[in-house]
Symmetry: D2
Subunit: 343 residues, 4 copies
């Protein structure tokens, strides 16, 4: 059994991680920390876990965490980097669900996150945990930077096009829509049901922190600079991301459907739908799948990719478990067999 | 492996049954029938099942169904009774998720459902599939009448009170609220998002078909006639039932919390919350749990019980699988370990 | 023109009051105060008011408020009582949308609200602003205590029964459901879309502050003590209250439909639906109507009343405007003609 | 008083038209027709209209309609063209809320709508009822083709850019999202709450009937051909459209904010928000406003316009009333002063 610890498990990625790990056949949940909720039983905060998770939150404690085989950080940005160096030294493997190790350049990280990075030397060691791109590196990684939710949906949609070089990398547009759980479990007026319910809007159009993360990933596969417009929106629902992606084709002969099907033929968690399909967020609700469809409207110069994930699963906790499975040599889908809840 | 057939799997209880059975370790999904959708792949209708259920709908066919060990009917009321006698004769076990075998009196059934019953002789043989009441009878049953969604939530809430004789059985009120999936997957204006979304209302206050079913169950445990007011309401959400139950105490000394905890101490799928709790429908979303809380406001003469289930799971497909497990001697919770999806 | 001031207009009753007063033909919006948002334009906080309300929030200022003809308090409980005596002395009429003047007994108020009352001598002068009961007293009042949202829906439903003496006043049950805007515009985790969306639950079953308010009102019309169970629930939507009311009939011959129709025949904002109806919250969304239906299931001993209002209009701001109209001799419905928004 | 008739008022544009016309000071609602609901009171179908609209639906009848000053068609596509020629001959003014007269080329219309056009000679006479473009022509029109909901939101967003010639007209992308009421009030499984609730998806990506309508309008203002990708999506809510528009700038010096503000300075129903704003659909819920914001992310080559309307008001019934006001010489905003309902 893998002894797993969770740092900061009081948010939505935390409870989702608990749901997945509690049912994982090779994991023993050893410890979960939270300064704010110490002493509170996990199942009091998250009543769906009653009878399934008996732990109570404890204060973060280096000794206990060092006894784990793997520690997941489900903390606000800037927290994991404070503890990761010591834990790595103690031989613990790390999966950070926040952004601390996602960007390879410390200066870029500091510019977007507004604080100095404590351990910039780990930025190049950290493996970006998108298995569809970095599977082999993840298997041997000590430190995995779990991708953001938008970056997962957007990169999986653009990958086949950029790898094949059939679109202009300067023409990328990602019009992305997310359920509200992406904003986390924070006491802010802006995310009250009465503010975001029965409502739709874009936000952070001038700049969103997922932009450099997506750009970095796409640049790597494109083998050169990309230009990307990224427009996030809030959907009045809890879970799900729908990314609508646009790019200008440079090869008008390419068989887009075949390109996508071949690229993802061996991927357990990427599902390319038949031609003319429209993936729905509910078709991945609670599951680790990404479902994709590719269109070329009016047979014109623009390719349109539709990509859906559950932001809390493939966009966060599920992908973290997928990475853990790879890091510990388990079958990649262990504990991730849950079928999406529909309706 | 148990060979399972599903008759009429195009509705919401159908897709939920498919979700549960596809992941059940002892079940082989042998056949699923639908006249309207014959030839269509199940995963086309329900994209959450892509990669998990390969069956296509076929026309109902007695021969194929007779080759099953168990057949689930997820059909409109009045359909199952047409095929059940022949299937029973062929040695097939039956679990009917509709209402055909829920009432023991043919005349009462015919009065509420408006058509003659085809096989009234089976009404007394049929076992009402509420394991918390009829576990032993279910184990040996050939024909199980799976309870309705409201009746499950309401009976589990009233049971301890009536069994203990601590309330006036003439004083029962069930103010029940259901997500819209309880209405099924039917093309009716009344259930469009634009009609029931962002809206709340009662319906069928003069009379609802679940009233005689609940009354029959409560009468049995009360050991005498009960009087019940049953008021159903529609919640603008998909899954979940919340029953708020009222009764007048006849024993003002009873320890209500202890009564409930003891009654359900051994039940795997009934969870009594601590005093002063308020169960939420999301805490059972997608799971087979019923969660209960019992209150006595102002320490007065009225007991208030709060009871939540997922109407498609403990209120339909999950309870059906629980019954199947009992009928085939499997551990009762097999395939029902899914943790509720929260948020 | 009536010069109107609003104290504390940053919540949902505040913005609704602004919406109504901005369109009121006899009102000039003179001032709106908020400590937290001083200097901010009202239309920045509430973009629906762009082009319609040009005011900015200012610090509460006795001098400016004393120049008003009427001041509305849309403040947290315990705030209005600090300024009301001075404003009354200055000749300003007051409508308090909070609870400071709703209970007539200072001790009871202090017990439920947990702080000493500053001006208990005003509790008996204050007129409870339910026009359907106190219309004449409101016309000549200096200080109106605007009723709570639940109390409005519940009292209007029980009134005809208690006034006519046809039910047992010891048998009252109010199972009430509210949209989330009733909780106000506060940064609390409990009211995030991800917590209350796609979810249904009861809350405050042991005790809710609206209980004594309802009991006081019902006692007055019953002419004797009443016993009431009040169970509030949260609906996953923004606006609307649905109260489902139960009482035991003492007169089994009464024509309930006629009783309700006659009681409210002259009321501009109470609409009794035809027999067998089920009022919907959307049918009053944004309007000042209360719509009612009365049922007697199975022709039994229990009467069931269904009562819907928009909690922000008839349950708060609309009723406040109705009271203002009465206090200033205007036609009662001035500025309240808006038709409910459906769908 | 203008005598107004409505043909086909049982859908969502119908009830919204009734809500607006019932409160319009210069309109007398003379007749409303529906074959399916003849004899039914309007307020039975739409309970928000109880006490405000006393009409019952009648069968369509040429004589009665010919006695009207204006007839609104809120019918399915292909219906209005059957009656319009005779009504025009009788001197009745027509506002068609469906698509029968929106395209100027009969062949294009027939290609997209799949049936022959009955009166193609009227296509060039009909005035496209977007007041921000065609105000003067509308004033003198006999026949107004009321724009579609998406076309209104998209055209108002692109207009200033194309009129000023500052973007490449071959580069247009409209990523549009609509509440479900845009699909109408039809008994179809696809629009049940359980299908579209708690879900997000694109639809009709290969081709949507609003594409030629938008392209025709944009071509006219661009003074040359435009290339447009139009991707509609369904939001799990009732009302509101959010169009996110992309175009490649050809003039990198243009002051986009000033361009938009100047273009719409005199428009009563188009509101340009301050720089860096994100309009929300709820800020126009129930009102006739279009609210716009313009962005240039990372100061790059792509302009992003955010445009919101209420699809049933500025996108349908409200714009129809605006057009009627123009056609009858009334102040343009008469009866359209309603402030958006927020929250």
């Amino acid at each position: 059994m893998i002894k797993a610890g969770i740092v900061g498990g009081t948010g939505y990625t935390g409870v989702e991680l608990l749901r997945l790990l509690a049912a994982h056949p090779s994991v023993e949940l050893a410890v979960i920390t939270s300064r704010g909720e110490k002493g509170v039983k996990v199942s009091e905060l998250f009543p769906n876990l009653r009878g399934r998770v008996d732990l109570a939150f404890v204060e973060p404690d280096g000794v206990v965490l060092k006894g784990c085989d793997v520690v997941f950080f489900a903390t606000p940005n800037g927290t994991a980097m404070q503890s990761v160096p010591a834990l790595l030294k103690a031989g613990v493997k790390i999966i950070d669900l926040a952004a601390d190790f996602r960007l390879r350049q410390a200066e870029e990280w500091e510019q977007w996150y507004g604080i100095p990075h404590i351990c910039p030397e780990l930025l190049t060691e950290a493996v970006y945990g998108l298995p569809e791109v970095n599977r082999e590196a993840i298997r041997s990684a000590r430190l995995v930077a779990n991708p953001g939710c938008y970056p997962t949906a957007v990169q999986l949609g653009f990958l086949p096009l950029l790898e094949a070089g059939v679109v202009d990398p300067q023409s990328l547009i990602a019009d992305a829509k997310s359920g509200v759980s992406g904003a986390g479990r924070k006491a802010e007026i802006g995310f009250l049901l009465c503010e975001v319910g029965d409502n739709f809007k874009a936000y952070n159009v001038p700049a969103h922190r997922h932009l450099p993360e997506i750009r970095q990933g796409l640049t790597a596969v494109a083998g050169g600079s990309v230009e990307l417009i990224f427009t996030p929106h809030l959907i009045p629902m809890i879970r799900g991301i729908h990314a609508t992606l646009y790019a200008t084709l440079t090869d008008s002969q390419v068989d887009l459907q075949a390109l996508f099907e071949q690229r993802y033929a061996a991927e357990p968690f990427v599902d390319v739908l038949p031609p003319k399909s429209h993936p729905e967020t509910r078709a991945v609700r609670g599951s680790n799948q990404c479902r994709l469809a590719v269109h070329r409207p009016q047979n014109g110069k623009t390719v349109v990719v539709l990509s859906v994930i559950d932001n809390l699963v493939k966009g966060a906790a599920g992908q973290a478990v997928q990475n853990m499975n790879l890091m510990f040599g388990l079958p990649e889908g262990t504990g991730l067999e849950g079928i999406a809840l529909l309706p």
